[in-house]
């Protein structure tokens, strides 16, 4: 599938701000089943953009906005060719052994409730892959995905579990927290999900930013799990960044006021249409 993506982020600053440092993590990398055809970042401010690789192998850019200004807008735009790999990841950039991904973070804390949930799906036989699938199914039953931004909350593993309803990021946190508790390395992925272009070219939807999880099963390697949709990754998914939790994959980090995002991810064959913005506001 060929997916056209546009991701716009606007960071608001106090009016008159100067020398605002910004990190963006907005450039996907190619791997088996995902090939970046073209990709470009565009800023509303003149900056020197130097690419760095972060500790997880994600491409990021840190720069500073001279100002004075009250906002920064970044547009990432490009086209990605994808193929279905039944969720199995090959050729990804790996900077850590899997065991690093057993690490807890604030967002993926194994609270007693999360532990109880994880234990409830524990299988008796030693089959990591079966375990992970069982976890995905159980989670899908337990927590419903709500419409809205990918990080619209509830966001922590525990909050997602308690609410029984969460954003895709919250569901990914719960999945990783539970898998880690069961001794299975798991990590957080940010990216995009494009809908199929319908044959008649109508009502395709615009696609969204989305978060899901990957977990490690010996013999298979890293496998993607989207518990919100109860499936492993397909050609509709474009993987942007990997880290221990949503904080680590944040597409933009700065020290300003609120952030707004608008994302579209479209099947390139679909007719052009005006992207209806999906917005998200962080504090």
């Amino acid at each position: 599938m060929r997916i056209r993506i546009r991701h716009e982020i606007t960071q608001r600053f106090e009016p008159g701000s100067r020398n605002m440092a910004v990190t963006v993590r907005l450039t996907p990398r190619s791997h088996e089943g995902q090939f970046i055809l073209r990709w470009a970042l565009d800023l509303n401010s003149d900056c020197r953009l130097a690419a760095q690789e972060d500790a997880f192998g994600n491409l990021c850019h840190t720069f500073s906005v001279d100002g004075p200004t009250d906002h920064l807008s970044v547009v990432a735009e490009g086209e990605v060719e994808t193929q279905d790999t039944t969720g199995i990841m090959h050729g990804t950039v790996e900077r850590f052994p899997p065991s690093l991904f057993l690490r807890q973070t604030d967002l993926t804390e194994a609270t007693p409730a999360v532990v109880a949930f994880a234990e409830s799906v524990k299988l008796t036989e030693d089959d990591p892959l079966g375990q992970l699938h069982a976890l995905m199914v159980a989670l899908h039953d337990k927590v419903e995905e709500q419409d809205g931004p990918a990080l619209g909350g509830p966001l922590t593993a525990n909050a997602a579990l308690q609410a029984g309803k969460a954003c895709s990021g919250g569901i990914a946190h719960l999945f990783t927290a539970a898998a880690r508790h069961l001794g299975l390395p798991a990590r957080h992925i940010s990216g995009y999900l494009a809908p199929d272009a319908p044959e008649d070219g109508e009502n395709a939807g615009v696609g969204t930013a989305r978060h899901w999880a990957e977990a490690y099963a010996p013999k298979f390697g890293w496998i993607s799990f989207d518990a919100g949709r109860n499936l492993c990754g397909t050609e509709h998914y474009v993987r942007l960044a990997v880290a221990l939790d949503a904080m680590g994959v944040a597409p933009l980090r700065s020290t300003g006021l609120e952030v707004e995002e608008a994302v579209s991810a479209l099947d390139s064959r679909a007719p052009q249409k005006v992207a209806q913005a999906q917005s998200q506001v962080q504090s």
Partner: protein
């Protein structure tokens, strides 16, 4: 508990040679003169404002650490042994941290278990694969040493993050020189006041680029930090700027400070700020104390942070127990300074032993510091032990245990005259790109309460001037 070794008086009552002059002097000076000088010392401390804050106490913003006037004496030979051992230890710490963030050979070889690194809260995944200037991580180390007999110095703890206390080492000496000049004329005491120069030379040697005179700054969390006095003290001694996060900014991966003459480039930052607060774009995003973009400049190799980020992975009490193996692994040498035998409660057979012997052990939290959250078995009653047992069973991996050591004692001024009190020693080891520098001595901490083994200032411990004799 066995009888403690006293550094002045041997068991048979004779005075050890290094202390002979001091002992005679102590015996000859009338008590009221000593009392008077003690008051004078306290007055000077208050006046200069050497104070510290104790966490969790209200209205205690400015408290004095008790200063004991009787110096602690270490012979030239003892110091030679100690300093060699310290240098070896810090060298291994540096190699270990570098390895953990790059090649991970120590993990592959199974010397240290993976989860002790990867599940360690002080491990910084963000530092993975990053080269730091000169491949050095722990530029300023404080290694806590205890002594149990004339020949044995144990390492009790490694401090590889931002060890504090050096200002007391320097101020204690200043005050002693002022109060007891006659005592110095009777001894050849190795000076400590070149610590400032040594630290500056070390920091400069760590600059990422040669070429221009490196600009060094000390980064403080601000005046409300408990060690603020020390931060401003050091800035004064070094003649460098004491900056807060808001004084710095990053442009194109270069760090600048805001001055009245415009931006000025900063090459080396001696930061007295925890990792978590350094850069809101990388760590805690609510940090107001750090510098946005600092880590990116660091990653680009344009600034040196001392100590490096993520050094905490080497200094918790669980990693401590592996230090002898770590020294052997990297240096192929036997440790010159032994560890205190340590049971890791994360290991079931160790835990079993610890639970069976609680009344005789000291149990500490792996990430604890300041003498908080620990159990001193022999000094605790049954209820306290049982309460601690419950904590230990609930989360064994969070604890280690050690035998209750009979820490050495030194003569100390107490209410009525001079009496032995338990002490430890924190020497400061500076690792520059050119060489290792250790000022002879360090900070001696003393438990002012009779029989107490807890020397931490937050628990009522005091300090002493530490003399390394030059002859």
């Amino acid at each position: 508990m066995p009888h403690a070794f006293d550094e002045m008086s041997s068991a048979d009552g004779s005075v050890r040679p290094a202390y002979e002059t001091l002992q005679r002097w102590l015996a000859s000076v009338p008590q009221d003169v000593l009392d008077h000088r003690r008051k004078e010392a306290e007055f000077i401390f208050r006046r200069i404002g050497i104070t510290f804050a104790v966490y969790g106490e209200q209205n205690s913003q400015e408290r004095l650490i008790p200063f004991d006037m009787v110096p602690r004496i270490i012979t030239k030979d003892e110091w030679a042994t100690l300093s060699k051992g310290l240098e070896q230890r810090v060298k291994a710490l540096n190699m270990y941290i570098r390895d953990v963030y790059t090649k991970r050979e120590v993990l592959k070889a199974g010397v240290v278990p993976e989860n002790l690194v990867y599940q360690n809260p002080a491990f910084r995944p963000e530092m993975n694969g990053q080269r730091v200037p000169h491949d050095l991580y722990v530029h300023i180390a404080g290694i806590d040493i205890v002594r149990t007999d004339p020949d044995t110095f144990y390492v009790l703890e490694d401090n590889a993050r931002t060890p504090s206390g050096v200002s007391y080492m320097l101020e204690n000496r200043e005050i002693m020189l002022r109060l007891f000049p006659e005592l110095f004329s009777m001894h050849k005491v190795a000076p400590v006041d070149k610590y400032g120069d040594d630290l500056l030379a070390t920091l400069r040697s760590l600059a990422p680029h040669g070429g221009h005179e490196p600009n060094v700054a000390i980064l403080t969390p601000g005046i409300y930090n408990s060690a603020y006095y020390e931060h401003s003290f050091l800035a004064d001694k070094l003649g460098v700027d004491l900056v807060e996060g808001r004084d710095l900014f990053v442009k194109d991966d270069v760090v600048y400070m805001r001055t009245t003459e415009g931006p000025k480039r900063v090459d080396v930052i001696y930061r007295r700020l925890d990792d978590d607060f350094l850069d809101p774009l990388m760590f805690r995003r609510d940090s107001q104390l750090g510098v946005p973009g600092l880590m990116s400049a660091y990653r680009a190799g344009n600034v040196t942070l001392t100590n490096a980020v993520g050094t905490g992975v080497a200094d918790d009490k669980a990693v401590y127990s592996y230090m002898p193996d770590i020294i052997r692994f990297y240096l192929g040498e036997e440790p010159l300074l032994p560890n205190v035998p340590t049971w890791r409660c994360r290991e079931p057979d160790h835990l079993k032993y610890v639970l069976e012997h609680l009344p005789e052990l000291v149990v500490k939290e792996v990430h604890g510091s300041g003498g908080y959250g620990m159990l001193v078995g022999p000094a605790s009653d049954k209820a306290q032990i049982e309460k601690f047992r419950a904590k230990l069973v609930a989360d064994p991996a969070n604890f280690i245990a050690q035998p209750t050591l009979a820490l050495s004692t030194c003569p100390t001024m107490v209410e009525k005259g001079v009496a032995p009190r338990h002490v430890d020693l924190r020497p400061f080891i500076l690792s520059g790109s050119d060489k290792v520098r250790i000022v002879p001595g360090g900070l001696t901490r003393v438990a002012m309460k009779e029989g107490s083994l807890v020397v931490n200032s937050s628990q009522g411990g005091g300090t002493k001037d530490t003399w390394v004799l030059d002859a």
